[in-house]
Subunit: 209 residues, 2 copies
Amino acid sequence: MGSDSIKEKIVQAAQQVFIRKGMDGARMQEIADEAGINKALLHYYFHSKEQLFKEVFYGILSQLIPGLIVIFKGSEPFLDKIEAIVTEYDTYMSKNPFLPQFVIREINRDPEQLSGFMSDQGLDFSLVEGLVEKEIAMGNIRPITFPHLFANVIGMIVMPYVGRPLFQRKLFRNDPVKYDMFLQERKTVITSFVKQALKSEQLRVESEK
Amino acid sequence: MGSDSIKEKIVQAAQQVFIRKGMDGARMQEIADEAGINKALLHYYFHSKEQLFKEVFYGILSQLIPGLIVIFKGSEPFLDKIEAIVTEYDTYMSKNPFLPQFVIREINRDPEQLSGFMSDQGLDFSLVEGLVEKEIAMGNIRPITFPHLFANVIGMIVMPYVGRPLFQRKLFRNDPVKYDMFLQERKTVITSFVKQALKSEQLRVESEK
DNA sequence: GTCTATATGCAGATAGAC
DNA sequence: GTCTATCTGCATATAGAC
C-alpha cells in the first residue's frame, strides 16, 4: 500500500541500494531518491549511514536465522536436514538475490560484529557439528569434517548468486529468464549432488570385514 | 630488493590495498603510504584510481587464466581435468587469498568489462561445455549440466576464502593456523567430493572389481 | 621524477525555516 | 516531520617548484 510509513520506505530503499552497491558504494543521496525524500530526512530517521546500514543488514539477516535454527535443532534424518537447509537458503535467496554478496562483504568488513550477532540470535554451528561425526561413526555417510561439508554446501548455494552477472553472460547468453530457471533447478541439483557425494559405501566396507 | 622500479612498487602496494578494501573502499593515500611515496606520484604513473585498479585487477587475473585454458584444452580424462582445475585454482588462491572476493566484487561492479577481458584472453567455457555432455552420454558420469557442475565446483573452491573471517571464528575458534590447514585440505576434499558425486553407477561397479 | 601545496568535487551530516 | 541551504571533511586529482 501507499500508506507505508516513511521510515519503512527508507528501509526498503536502503535495502535496494546497499544490496546493489555495498556499504562503501552506496550513496545517501541515492537512497533518498529511491525513497522519494531528501537526505536531511534520512538523517532525521537514522542518525548516520552506518546506523542505517546496520539496521538494514541485520534486519534482513534475522529473517533467515530462525529458520536455520529450527532445522538445526529438528529431528529429521541427517540427509533430510541438509535438504531442508538447501531449501531454506534457496527460497530465501530467490527473494533476496543480492543477499549473498551483501553478507560476504559484511563478513569481511566487520566480522566481529556479524559473528556476535549470530551468537545473539542463537545460531551455533556446534549444534550440527556433532551430528556429522555421529552419522559418520554410524556409517551412514562417508567421512568428512563439518567445516568441509558446510563450506561445500554453502558454496554451492551461494555461487550462482554472487557470480550471476558473469555466469549469465558466459553460460546463458545473458538471458535472464534462462538464468532464473537455472537458479530454480539449483535446489534439487545441489541436494542430489550432496547426497550422492556423501553416500557411504557401506556395502563394500561390510563385505571387506 | 630496494631496486624495484617505483611503478612496480605502486602496483604491489595497490594490490594489497585494493584486495583488502575493494575498489570503493581503497584510498589512494593508503596505497601511497604502502608504496612509500606520496599521492602525487601515484597520479604521475597512473592517471586515475580507476586506471590503477584495472591495471591491478586484470594483471592478477591474467596470471590465472592461461593455466585454466591449458587444462580446458588438455587431453586428460574428464575427472582428472576437474582435479587439475581444483588444484590450479587452489594453489593460485593460497597465494592470493583475497582474490575471490576481489573478483566477485568486480563481477558485480563491471561485469561487461570482465566478460570482455575473459574473451580477449581466450577463455571460453564452450571448450568444456560439450565435454560434460559427452561424458554423460558415454555413461562415465551422472547426468548434470555444465553450468550446475561449474557452479558447484567454483562455489566449493571459493567459499572458504570469501567466508574466512566468519568461518574461522565460528568453526575454528579464530585460530588462523588451523584455518590454513583447513584450506590446505580443501583440494583433496573437493576433488573426492566431486568425483564421488559424479561417479556413475557403472563406474562404481567397475571400481569395486 | 619526486615532492609540497592546493584545487575541485562530492558525500555525510547539520542548521534552521516552515 | 519535511524541506532548502549549508557546513565540514575527505578523496581524487592537479599545479608547480625543485
